[in-house]
């Protein structure tokens, strides 16, 4: 679908976003993958668009009162202050 424009985009990102400072080689005891380091700018751009549209959708749902409380097994990514202070995250 988006195949034809990607090589141009990729080249532009790689050309313009290069930084001339290498990562300190101190702790590179495993190969982080050069491709994986370069690609993260693109992945982040896609992620930004996804989050923006999801937030927009969420706001629309709130407006029309369509938001349901989900009963998930796992909580969200943020560590709450109460988790740190009261150890509520601990099962013991």
């Amino acid at each position: 679908m988006c195949e034809p424009i990607l090589p141009i985009f990729e080249e532009k990102v790689v050309r313009f976003l290069y930084i001339y400072e290498k990562l300190s080689m101190h702790f590179l005891y495993f190969d982080p993958g050069l491709g994986a380091m370069v690609i993260q700018a693109i992945v982040a751009a896609v992620a930004g668009v996804i989050l923006f549209s999801k937030n927009l959708l969420y706001k629309i749902k709130i407006f029309f009162n369509l938001v349901k409380d989900d009963d998930d097994l796992f909580d969200d990514i943020n560590i709450k202050d109460t988790d740190v202070e009261n150890k509520t995250n601990s099962d013991k």
Binding site: M1, C2, L6, E10, V13, V14, L17, Y18, I19, Y20, K22, L23, S24, H26, F27, L28, Y29, F30, P32, G33, L34, G35, A36, M37, V38, I39, Q40, A41, I42, V43, A44, A45, V46, A47, G48, V49, I50, L51, K54, D72, L73, F74, D76, I77, N78, I79, D83, V84, E85, K87, N89, S90, D91, K92
Partner: protein, 463 residues
Amino acid sequence: MISKEQHSSSFRDPSGYIFIEDNILKRKILPIYFKQYHKLKNSKFFNKLFDSGLLINHKEVLVSETEIIIHPEQIPFVTYPYEWCFNQYKEAALLTLKLHKFALENKFSLKDASAFNVTFHNGKAIFIDTLSFDFYKENTPWRAYKQFITHFFGPLLLAHYHGSEVLKLTSNFIDGIPVKIIASMLPFKTKLNPFLYSNIHLLSKFEDKHNEDYKGEAKVTALSKKGQLNILETLYNFIKKLDLKEQSEWGDYYNKTNYSDDAFNLKADLINGWVSKLNAKTAIDVGGNDGTFVRRITSNLDLALVCDIDNNAVDYNYTKVKKNKEAYMLPIVLDVLNPSANIGFNNKERFSFINRIKDFAPDVTLALAVIHHMTLSGNITFEMSANFFAGFSEHLVMEFPKKDDSWVQRLLKSKGEFESHFEFYSLENFKSDYLKYYTILEEQPIKGSERVLFFLKRKNGKT
């Protein structure tokens, strides 16, 4: 074992290593990591991680100019990624993302996202590599991003599309499943999803393109912290919603067995009585399904390993463990006929299930309705299975289905003309072979069924 020698599983990170001293696992930190360690400690970030239950707790026992020794909270039984059910795998992935985000907010970064840095303790996933944190350097990408994809996101995606059995692949790829393999195994429609396209397919292309840069000429692109947080949040939200296409049917498993309610309760009461009489603190149920019989044990167990070959059954059990906050129960995916092997460098990096269970030496083993599967499906003779069980536990609760049992009949019939080979499957032969290794403490036929429950004690010298 008294030795300050580097543990054979701890050699990858030059920041330090673990060693065993007086049977206690400790961690030595080398000067190269002192700056990070002091900052993590003095900024109270370690304390925040302990209090939020994300990282295994530790106490400092020695500080000198050449080394720092810490004493981490001990984990009685470590499980590996290829022994986790789908939801355990998911939880470990979410924990890693959560940890990295929390680290970024506190000016640190998770430098290592290996799935082997996570295990299960007190009913939940916990990060066990204390030295996996480094300073966050502004505008640098996450150096463990690819590792996260190959260790966590890729295997979970494959499990979503191909079933939970795929998770076993991780035992063959100790450094994560290669991105190229992940990409090739995903259906075409994943290329149409921008999120999956960028995180898997495009990553695979980029890795291909850059993997011959032997001179290290290419430079790394800048990535703002906000950009990195966006990646983490989208990965977290996606993984959190990921499920298995194969739905678990184990909720009504016990309704499909050939037990009447009375026989079922009699069996549970007998097991509970025997285990309680032993005052057992540790147990393993080798074919524990969803943990029903372990849950009927009323004595206080510190740790019960509930194993099953079926990832869905283990998953069903794990969901219960989470909901009921059962910290003493550890569900494990285990194929008794093919337990996890020793793997990694020199075959000493990750230990076999047998090594670990022998070290753990549970007070009692439950083998309920497992023997007919081992004998008739696995061609394991009675003497071989007796030898196997006697290898790691002193007491054994064994349920023996007699030849007339409907499940035994079903297994025998499936053998066709080979059925005569299993003539030896009888209560008498079972007892005579098991008596070579065990003494019978109690023997109780379960009324209303074709099954007999044994309470056995290992003979001296038969380990």
